[in-house]
Amino acid sequence: MNGNGPEGEAWAADGKDKAMVVGDDELKGGDEVEKEGVQKTEGNVLEVEDLKKYYKLKGELFSKPRYVKAIAGVSFNIKPGEMMGMVGETGCGKTVVARLIVRVEDPTGGAIRFHGVDIAKMKGKKLRQFRKNAQMIFQDPYASLNPRMTVLQSVSEPLFNYGMRKEPEKVYTKVVKALEDAGLLPVKEYLERFPHELSGGERQRVSIARAIILKPSFIIADEPVSMLDVSIRAGIMQLLLSLREEYGIACLLITHDFSVARYVCDNITVMYLGRFVEKAETEELIQNPIHPYTKALLQAVPVADPTREKEELPISGDIPSPIDTPSGCVFRTRCPYAIDSCADSMPELVEMRPGHKVACHRVARGEI
């Protein structure tokens, strides 16, 4: 399941060749990228270090500006072909992470490294070259497609953005291939359809086709199935897995639904109020959740087993406002295990079991 190993490398090498074919004229600064990126194929596809995003609030006149700490410093790595899951409730900041990584928004601090090159502060043409490496699939399958563009237009657009205008036949071939890979068959029937003529699942597949057409090494899927009917979800998830099989594309899956994450992800990170609270390999996390929050989340997942006993884990209260986050451990206001000392500082991720990190003072101290 991992992208490590010979298959992953083959893909990366592949990616390099394919990347150079797409529209050379625009890629002046990209040559460096190629060299650097490719050289580090054995390294991580993505390295995020201490990523921060604060939003400034419109202040009263003459008072100090206040901030919303959407992301308060997260770090993680993704290896080639790895499928990482990020789970959390609405408002925890997972979408923001996604948007920062693809640079739809600018981070307030921290580093984002693709194939070793920090793109956190990149702008303009250089940034555009990097975009080839990372693509994104959005939550709302309809809103992510331009309602006035046909499937053919939407999927071919990324190629045009990188200068393939002069080779329309080549583009056509690539589009057809991408749609095939995305499972939209027969392709010819779909080419001239508008988004409103497609079902939700089909639209998402179009988005996926658009995302893979540039042969990125990394895709972020932001709640890709939450707006789809349950019966269709499996298909989409299967598709993501098969993409990893064929092309070795690494994936960051963002979701609030553990069952989805469980289906595809190699490992799962749990997020709360802009901070990571637990991180482990999928099965490990689901079987042995340590952090109180994780436990609560998992409890809420309906399990089709009438015999299973429910462990009551009361979390009280609502998610606090991200403007005035609680001092110290942000979860302490709802944590049943919170004590006074929890307010002192934000806990770091500490490895409690092999490959299983938890951010909790009391857990670190072995108290729970």
């Binding site: 739809v104 994104m136 331009n146 309602p147 563009m149 657009e157 953005n161 359809r193």
Partner: protein, 772 residues
């Protein structure tokens, strides 16, 4: 849970379940770019929109009305017989009144009033028409006193309150009023010339002529620096005798020194004219202040002869005339000579073959030629001083074919009037430049009345117009360009056995520009206003000229229906151009503000707010005062005030679109800002732009109308607003509903149609408005 976003909701009005009918026929191309594909794509979208639009009754009604306007604009020339410059002819627009008064029977001593003459008018000292006199051969004269009054419906009318009858010497053929300090009548007949007093018609002097004249010249009333009282010169002739009659004024330097001179020659006594017969009136050619050079020119059946007119003065303090007499023949040119020079047969015009090139008695200039007209329409120029030929031209043209020239007459204007008959027996009248003999107006100043021109046409400098009568009994008034200004029929026409038509315009004084033609017919005197009262704007109907004005005319005589139709073109241009301009500008601003946000947004939005809250009309008037009125400026002004509304809406739409992730998706896919704006934002914003464009057309028309009405419109353009403005200026607002209603209705319907179309289109893009 599937949350539907707004757009999803509305474009899914019919959720697609089966796709087979939507599947595109693959055209086999393996290219991303394909016109067939692009066309099919757009067709699909347009048809989908049309299906929804069709359902709206308002929309369909609006579209139908709009299309009718387009039809009107395109087919305007076919929908109206008049072109846009058409002005109703004078006969429709002038109301010419006449009054008639019977010539009292007892004036003729109970005899049949058959031989009443051409009436003469005189104005006495006030220059307003004073009296009208008619006389008969039987020895009677009737003098009508004339009052000028205000006529019904405006203008000046004539009233003839009384008349007096007088006896005059029997057998008078011709009577001429002599004015300017010598108020008298010359009465010629019975081989004598009587001077009749103006008031009492009593003979104050009679001179025996020794022959019976049949031709009479112009009356030269000569005055000069020293001789300001006016010495009269008058030539008379019959077939063989040419005579000159001259009379000094009544008083000169306080002394009564009337001297009468009379001389005559017999042309048979000259070799050149030995066998000739005089055929028409002689001309006295006078050169004021020069004793030498005056002559009398006379046409014979063989040629044109010029005789010296000798005037001798004794100088000194009292400049008195010693003698006036006819001297030798100065020159003679025969028709044969003329014919030889041009290899033609030359015969003189039937009634009056010669004319001096310019009529003004006191000017020397321009009188160096005598124009001779031959019967076949050729004109010849003869140098006055020596009788040699200068040039020859013809007046024959496509309009005057085979001319049979009747007469030529000089005018004060310096052009020559030529009258005659043309095939097929219809009269013509035209103007010719005496310098070169060519028909004025590049050969186009020709008029053909209903029949032959009778008598001598007159030129009235102060109207200015040409006036003559036709054999059928119609009085014509022509512009200087020979275009018809007005016609009037003589009541009774030519059915009566004897009718004399007189145009006495020279002697009829004007009363603030009103002229009258006075006519005797069948024992009655008719005084017809020539200039008439202006009655435009005309209500709808058919008028004397035969024209029908379905919606009437405006004050200038423009047919309202025609103006209405042609204005549609201008309105369409104004509306659409202004709308496109504002929409484009507003969309650009809106997208920029919405997409880039930040300070760009703030600045642009401030700007938009300012333009939105500007009281539009108030500032627009100022703009118009600065820029000047013209169609382009009005379009610009409308655009300046309309873009802000569009910008605001487009910005809102852009902001909404920005929240939809396809914009982000495009960014992630590597699209540059320009790509996002043009490929993603613009097409999704354009329906809204188009919607607002339609509304702006509607508003633009009304704005233009208001600006025009307030006086800031383009004077040279025809628009409905200008029509209403002219209505206001001419003061006819309350009196001409046929002028008031159509433009306003047109504006309303035009604006309404676009507004309705906009509303329907709004339902297409914004499904929340559709009926449930």
């Amino acid at each position: 849970m599937e949350e539907k976003s707004q757009m999803a909701e509305y474009e899914e009005a019919e959720p697609p379940r089966s796709f087979s009918h939507l599947a595109q026929e693959d055209d086999g191309t393996t290219s991303v770019f394909s016109w067939k594909r692009t066309f099919a794509r757009h067709k699909k979208q347009v048809l989908a929109g049309w299906k929804i639009y069709r359902k709206s009754r308002i929309g369909m009604a609006g579209m139908i009305i709009m299309l009718s306007f387009v039809f009107m604009a395109v087919f305007a020339p076919f929908l109206t017989p008049y072109d846009p410059d058409f002005i109703a002819p004078a006969e429709d627009v002038f109301n010419a009144d006449y009054i008639s008064i019977p010539i009292p029977e007892d004036a003729a001593g109970g005899m049949a009033a058959e031989s009443w003459s051409v009436p003469m008018g005189s104005s006495g000292s006030t220059e307003a028409l004073d009296t009208i006199t008619v006389y008969s051969r039987e020895g009677h004269a009737v003098q009508f006193s004339v009052d000028l009054i205000a006529a019904e419906g405006g203008g000046v009318g004539i009233d003839i309150p009384s008349s007096e009858s007088y006896d005059i010497p029997v057998g008078i053929d011709v009577m001429l009023p002599v004015l300017f300090k010598n108020e008298m009548f010359f009465a010629i007949g019975n081989e004598a010339l009587h001077e009749l007093s103006y008031d009492t018609f009593t003979t104050s002097r009679a001179t025996e002529l020794g022959f019976e004249p049949t031709y009479y010249s112009n009356l030269w009333n000569r005055w000069s620096l020293t001789n300001t009282e006016g010495q009269l010169f008058f030539a008379m002739a019959n077939e063989t005798i040419l005579s000159i009659y001259s009379r000094t004024p009544d008083t000169s330097m306080g002394m009564s020194t009337v001297k009468v001179f009379f001389d005559k020659v017999n042309i048979s006594s000259y070799a050149e004219t030995a066998d000739d017969v005089i055929i028409a009136d002689p001309i006295i050619i006078n050169l004021a202040d020069e004793e030498n050079g005056s002559m009398v020119v006379v046409p014979t059946d063989g040629g044109v002869a010029a005789f010296e007119l000798n005037i001798s003065y004794s100088g000194g303090l009292f400049n008195t005339t010693d003698n006036v007499g006819l001297g030798d023949m100065i020159w003679y040119i025969s028709y044969e000579d003329i014919g030889d020079q041009y290899s033609r047969d030359v015969e003189p015009a039937l009634e009056q073959p010669i004319a001096i090139s310019k009529e003004n008695p006191s000017e020397k200039e321009g009188k160096n030629r005598i124009i001779f007209a031959s019967r076949d329409g050729y004109l010849y120029s003869i140098f006055r001083s020596n009788g040699t030929l200068e040039w020859s031209t013809t007046i024959a043209s496509t309009q005057i074919r085979s001319p049979e020239t009747m007469g030529i007459y000089p005018t004060y204007r310096g052009v020559i009037i030529v009258t005659g008959m043309t095939e097929p027996g219809v009269g013509f009248i035209t103007i010719v430049d005496p310098e070169n003999g060519l028909i004025e107006g590049g050969g186009t100043w020709i008029f053909t009345p209903d029949s032959a021109v009778i008598g001598r046409p007159e030129y009235v400098a102060s109207i200015p117009a040409y006036i003559f009568a036709s054999q059928e009994g119609t009085i014509y008034i022509l512009e200087e360009t020979m275009e018809l200004r007005a016609t009037f029929s003589i009541p009774g026409g030519t059915e009566t056995t004897t009718s004399y038509v007189g145009n006495i315009v020279n002697n009829i004084g004007s009363y603030q520009g009103n002229y009258f033609a006075v006519v005797t017919s069948d024992g009655k005197l008719y005084a017809q206003s020539i200039t008439g009262t202006y009655v435009a704007p005309l209500p709808p109907g058919t008028y004397p000229s035969g024209n029908t004005y379905h919606l009437g005319t405006d004050v200038f005589g423009h047919d309202i229906l025609t103006n209405l139709l042609y204005a549609t073109r201008t309105e369409l241009v104004i509306g659409i151009v202004a709308a496109v301009l504002s929409a484009v500008l507003g969309t650009i601003v809106g997208i920029m503000a919405g997409y880039y946000g930040g300070w760009i947004d703030s600045v642009l939005m401030r700007l938009t707010d300012i333009f939105l809250t500007l009281p539009m009309l108030v500032v627009a008037l100022l703009f118009a005062a600065v820029l000047g009125p013209s169609i382009l400026n009005i379009i610009i002004i409308i655009a300046i005030f309309s873009w802000a509304g569009v910008a605001r809406v487009i910005r809102a739409q852009t902001l909404t679109l920005k929240t939809r992730c396809f914009i982000d998706a495009a960014k992630v896919s590597g699209a540059s800002d320009t790509t996002i704006i043009f490929r993603h934002l613009a097409p999704n914003v354009l329906p809204l732009t188009f919607l607002y464009m339609v509304f702006i057309v509607s508003a633009a028309i009304i704005t233009e109308a208001i600006l025009a009405f307030l006086g800031m419109g383009d004077q040279t353009a025809v628009t409905w607003g200008m029509m209403l403005q002219y209505l206001k200026i001419s003061g006819n607002t309350l009196t001409a509903p046929w002028w008031l209603l159509p433009p306003g209705i047109a504006i309303t319907m035009f604006s309404l149609s676009f507004y309705m179309m906009g509303r329907a289109f709004d339902e297409v893009i914004n499904p929340r408005l559709r009926s449930r």
